[in-house]
Amino acid sequence: MSLPTTTLAGPSDAPHAPRVRRGRRPAPSRLLFFAVFLGLPLLVYIVFVVSPFLQAFYYSLTDWKGVSGNADFIGLDNYVRIFTDPVYLKALRNNLLLMIILPTVTITLAFVLAVMVTIGGDTKGEIHGIRGSNIYRVVSFFPYVLPAVVIGILFAFIYSPNGGLLNGLLNLPLRLLNALGADVRLVGTAWLGDPRFALGAIILAVVWSLVGFYMVLFVAAIKAIPSEIIEAARLDGCGRVRLAAQVVLPQIRENVSTAVVYMGIMALDMFVYVSVMTPSGGTARSTEVVSRYLYETAFARSQFGLASAMGVVLALVTMLMAVIVLFGSRSKEDA
């Protein structure tokens, strides 16, 4: 939901750390100030974010079934159960597949488009993008501001077998052929109902909505590269593809790895897209993901302990992914 940054800077990274004068007891007015300014936000944060998060770890070790029922400590039983549950395994596999495919496709496409609008212009003279680059940027960013629910419903329309846009477009040339006397069967696929296509169709919708955002992010990063670096590479006879892959890409490496982490976190969630486009996890659970199955387990079947275990596993995968990407991309240069 939020905006990526370049790097996570520590609190001591700023040049002039302002300090409260030491060696004096803080005045009562300052204590009140701290209580209000730091206390209130922290209270909200701890009650509504930190404590539920920690509770989830505990509940995952119990057989808790809701308010009235007792929560008995059952050790790792829930974990044993989910790892022998074929639906959970299918959901986890889908999440991992999405974690590989979504960032790769989205970020590659975003990078290519960003390179085109920034350094895609003439190879002589000043470095600039191709004409009209601003329009392309403004238009492609727009889907990012639409709520994910709207994206899901929009694409459910598009993929619909009855009057959907996709089949309509695919049938345009076929109808033309039929009008000319050929006898071709029109496409009537229910893209989200067919287990072969459903996950791919959802991936396409997500890519559609997010490419523009990462493209704009990369455009900003590319513009921040000192122009001497790009000019020097050009004088050395570096073509556009090599310039993009060997000069520009390493320069914005940190932005790319942040983008990969954000896309990865999203791919391991996907609750909105999946539950809107394929409400029960798709035909034969073809598009099931952990977050949706977790929701069903908790709020339709009241197995809160079991659901928490599902979430814990996925949260650990998420953090592992983030750590691997962030440290993996850093070590290449610093090591």
Partner: protein, 304 residues
């Protein structure tokens, strides 16, 4: 998708020979023109892929359900606002809209206030535990919401806040705080220290210094964080679905989803398209007005 232009031997070889600075716009080589052609085609195709589905939704919302089902491209037989009226009143989009304004508006105000306060203290004061609080806050950026919702549901229930606007608003605020603090921390950090000192010498207390001096100075930062928080809160789905179970209090995202779920048997496709259009249009207007700030707020160096 990936266009591989030739490496332009002519351009690179010719370049090293003629080192003079050309005062006019240099002539474009064949390679340049070919590349620009390919790039334009790719970008135009992409732009169309973005715009077409949106245009299609808008004009489909003028069609009757039967027209929608028979052909995706046929023009509406009559251009009227019937579908929009149905969507706004009967389908309840109007009510969902008001609910969303209350929840998102309230949460936005609160998270900006609390976030700015917290970020200011963390950025401008040295005290024991500052680092731990800062990192504890930033760690929240990686907490997956789906893990927290089950206990959160019961936290709110025990406080008697489940199914109330205030409960939902507080949950929104909690999950938007890490992002807000993280960005505003950087903004407050950059503000010159002399100003705060001058204010202190003039006898302004901590509260006045913050509200009358620091907040106005940090306005550009507050603006862009507000816009991104608005988008984030407007986009929330899992939190309201779990915590806001009273249909009268549904936010837009929930309302749209439940409308879509009813489509199976009621199938008023026209009203459904109109509902989606009603949701898209305000965002489109906000986007057109703020698109500069939005894109400027991204990336490290754009506001230099």
């Amino acid at each position: 998708m990936t266009q591989a232009p030739p490496l332009d031997p002519a351009v690179s070889a010719g370049e090293s020979g003629t080192r003079r600075i050309e005062p006019r716009r240099p002539r474009r080589s064949h390679g340049d023109r070919a590349f620009a052609g390919v790039a334009h085609i790719v970008l135009v195709v992409w732009t169309l892929a973005v715009v077409l589905p949106l245009l299609w939704t808008v004009y489909s919302s003028f069609k009757t359900s039967r027209e929608i089902l028979t052909s995706p491209f046929s023009m509406p037989s009559e251009w009227n606002l019937d579908n929009f009226i149905t969507a706004w009143t009967e389908a309840g989009i109007g009510r969902y809209f008001v609910n969303t304004l209350i929840v998102v508006g309230g949460a936005l105000f609160l998270v900006m206030l609390l976030g700015a306060m917290c970020a200011y203290v963390l950025a401008r004061f040295e005290f024991p535990g500052r680092r731990i609080i800062y990192y504890g806050m930033i760690a929240g950026l990686t907490f997956p919401i789906f893990l927290a919702v089950v206990p959160l549901f019961f936290v709110l229930m025990n406080m008697g806040l489940r199914g109330t606007y205030i409960g939902l608003i507080l949950a929104y605020v909690g999950f938007a705080l890490p992002f807000t603090v993280f960005f505003l921390y950087a903004f407050f950090r950059q503000l010159p220290e002399e100003i705060a000192e001058a204010a202190a010498i003039d006898g302004a207390g901590d509260f006045r210094t913050f509200f009358q001096i620091m907040v106005p100075l940090a306005t550009p930062g507050l603006m862009s964080v507000t816009i991104f928080n608005f988008l984030g809160l407007w986009n929330q789905y899992l939190l309201p679905v779990v915590l806001n179970t009273d249909e009268d209090k549904y936010v837009l995202a929930q309302g749209l989803k439940s409308l879509q779920a009813q489509q199976g048997y009621e199938s008023d496709w026209g009203a459904m398209f109109a509902s989606v259009t009603i949701t898209i249009l305000p965002v489109l207007i906000v986007y057109v007005i703020f698109q500069r700030q939005l894109q400027g707020g991204l990336g490290p160096s754009t506001d230099k």
